[in-house]
């Protein structure tokens, strides 16, 4: 029953352009919590910092400031050596996240052995089969023997999910887990994630740019714009009653089949250049929160 508490997390990157150096603040004082059995969606466009947050949480990068606390069931900080037993990630690209050289069994067996979940080849193999069955990949024996290129995208993503859960992870960072899958398969994979969450009381961070699945799949939504959270609240509230300009822009921009043939009439009504991400609307408290301005400039908006 692991939970995660992120406080004032920031990440700066130094960009070198010729002789000049610029600091890019990819993530600016982001705070949120992940609790067992709940899904938090992190919504934003590319360049908003959501992938950076994933990298910070999985310790692929070090934060420039702020803290990430991973607390076990007794509210104690998890030891560094066990960090990866508690927190794992599902990558976006099912075609790139599995090594084409190795079999599926290898992909699942390695995390088991690294984190000493099993002892000996026989036990490991049995666990591998169990895990494959859990993510509905059957017949498990045949799938385990295959190589990634012999599976479809949806199957690979299920393997990736199984791999993430192999160490016994309680916190799952799902970085756009279905955006590269065929449309008709996305449903199945997201429902699978939901089932696994219910069964294991996982804390899930669902990173996406798709507002619709964010709403239906998560309990809470955080809207990220240029590294800062500009709106947070229960999913339905944020989508049906957006307060911040940026959230409104996103909601309007998302394709809505109800507006058949109305493309030209949908005025966006929001001036992109004037979106202010120094304040954030918190639906839980029902009020605006101010982030004081910093010196570091963020890059200009793309059209």
């Amino acid at each position: 029953m692991t939970s995660v508490r992120v406080e004032n997390l920031s990440k700066d990157y130094t960009l070198r352009g010729g002789l000049k150096r610029r600091t890019l603040r990819a993530v600016d004082r982001v705070s949120f919590e992940l609790s067992p059995g709940k899904t938090v969606a992190l919504v934003g466009e590319s360049g908003s910092g959501k992938s950076t947050i994933a990298k910070l949480l999985t310790r692929m990068e070090k934060p420039s400031s702020g803290s990430i606390e991973v607390l076990d069931g007794q509210q104690r900080q998890v030891a560094d050596a066990h960090y990866r037993r508690h927190l794992q990630m599902v990558f976006q690209d099912p075609f790139a996240s599995l090594n084409p050289f190795h079999s599926i069994e290898h992909h699942l067996a390695r995390p088991l052995r690294i984190h000493q979940r099993t002892a000996g080849k026989g036990q490991t193999y049995q666990r591998v089969l169990q895990m494959l069955e859990r993510v509905n990949l059957e017949p498990a024996g045949q799938i385990a023997a295959k190589r990634p290129h012999e599976l479809s995208g949806g199957q690979r993503q299920r393997v990736a999910i199984a791999r993430a859960l192999a160490p016994g992870a309680q916190v799952l960072i799902a970085d756009e887990p279905v955006s590269m899958l065929d449309v008709s398969i996305r449903l199945g994979v997201l429902n699978l994630l939901a089932r696994l969450q219910r069964e294991d009381q996982l804390a899930v961070l669902y990173i996406t740019h798709d507002l619709a699945t964010a709403r239906h799949f998560s309990d809470e939504i955080l809207v990220l714009y240029k590294g800062r959270i500009v709106e947070r609240g229960p999913s339905d509230e944020v989508i049906l009653n957006p307060q911040h300009d940026y959230t409104r822009l996103l909601a309007q921009a998302a394709p809505d089949p109800e507006r058949v043939g109305q493309v030209l009439n949908t005025g966006l009504g929001v001036d992109r250049a004037r979106i202010d991400n120094t304040n954030c609307f918190n639906h839980f408290t029902g009020g605006w929160e101010q982030l004081d301005r910093t010196e570091t400039q963020l890059p200009a908006a793309h059209r």
């Binding site: 065929d182 449903l187 939901a194 989508i239 809505d256 089949p257």
Partner: protein, 299 residues
């Protein structure tokens, strides 16, 4: 199993005569086990109509687009069918029978294409202006240099890009702007038909909406027909007049957008529609609280 009745094949949405007729087109990939990528595709594209072509990966929509353009490469081979282009001058062209030089004249003048991943189709070491210029020189050899420059500037302004950017290089532009440049490039000679293969897929949703509005606005201004290929069905529902749904090489449904949304006839269309949860509506098949989940994908 196809649910197209003969009446529906006719271009109904705009009430205008057809500009492109595809009849019984089949494309085969001659590999170890020959694969029929497109099976007997038939449809008509009305003048000034936006026809959406929806389907998932591997359904054959890109192959179909390439075949219409005769851009397909071996091992792809058109095994049967007919593609007729009804020029605005009244002439009727059999696209599959054109010779090389006739095809070159035809391409870009009458029909142009915006390719998938178009944002990265620009040559990184040449300026935008140079590339637009190249296209004009290839397909409209009669134009003078001044006329070409003027046309390039004009076409950029049309898509909402500052003509001063003619001297910029592709890496200096954002993704959205590069996509606009590609659309501008396709519009250079004011073709009657534009085929767009996933033009907005790699773009953010806000930029995507800008581009879509641009396309629809240009269509209103210049009255060209568009075949818009994508897997994003809700997007098609918003901008298309009619939508064709492809599954495993066949067009399984072809209907007016509104009708398709409310009364999809084919089970696959309904499945596709169900895969897109409505932003503001109910959650449909996305079940978080219940126990339903797909036992195994069917491929």
């Amino acid at each position: 199993m196809s649910t197209i009745s003969p009446e529906r094949l006719e271009a109904g949405a705009t009430g205008k005569p057809p500009v492109l007729s595809v009849r019984g087109l089949s494309v085969v990939y001659e590999s170890q086990n020959p694969v029929t990528a497109v099976k007997n595709a038939s449809f008509e594209l009305g003048r000034g109509e936006i026809l959406g072509l929806a389907g998932e990966s591997g359904c054959g929509k890109t192959t179909l687009a390439y075949a219409i353009n005769r851009l397909h490469q071996p091992p792809a081979r058109i095994s049967s069918g007919q593609v007729l282009f009804h020029d605005s001058s009244g002439q009727e062209l059999d696209l599959l029978g054109l010779g090389e030089s006739q095809l070159r004249d035809f391409r870009w003048q009458k029909l142009s294409m915006v390719f998938q991943g178009a944002m990265n189709a620009l040559n990184p070491v040449r300026s935008i202006g140079a590339q637009l210029d190249d296209t004009l020189r290839a397909h409209a050899p009669g134009m003078t240099r001044a006329a070409r420059r003027e046309r390039s500037a004009q076409v950029l302004t049309r898509v909402g890009v500052d003509p001063g950017r003619l001297r910029s290089f592709p890496h200096e532009l954002s993704g959205g702007m590069r996509q606009r440049v590609m659309i501008a490039m396709a519009m250079l000679l004011e073709p009657q038909v534009m085929i767009m293969d996933e033009p907005t897929t790699a773009l953010d949703v806000v930029v995507q909406r800008d581009i879509l509005r641009e396309i629809v606005r240009l269509r209103e201004e210049l009255d060209f027909a568009v075949i818009f290929i994508t897997h994003d069905l809700p997007l098609l529902l918003e901008i298309s007049d009619r939508i064709a749904v492809m599954l495993r090489g066949e067009i399984v449904e072809l209907d007016q957008a509104a009708t398709l949304y409310r009364q999809a006839a084919h089970p696959y269309t309904r499945k596709l529609l169900a895969s897109f949860p409505s932003l503001r509506g109910d959650r449909g098949a996305f079940v978080r609280g219940g126990t339903a989940d797909d036992p195994q994908e069917q491929s």
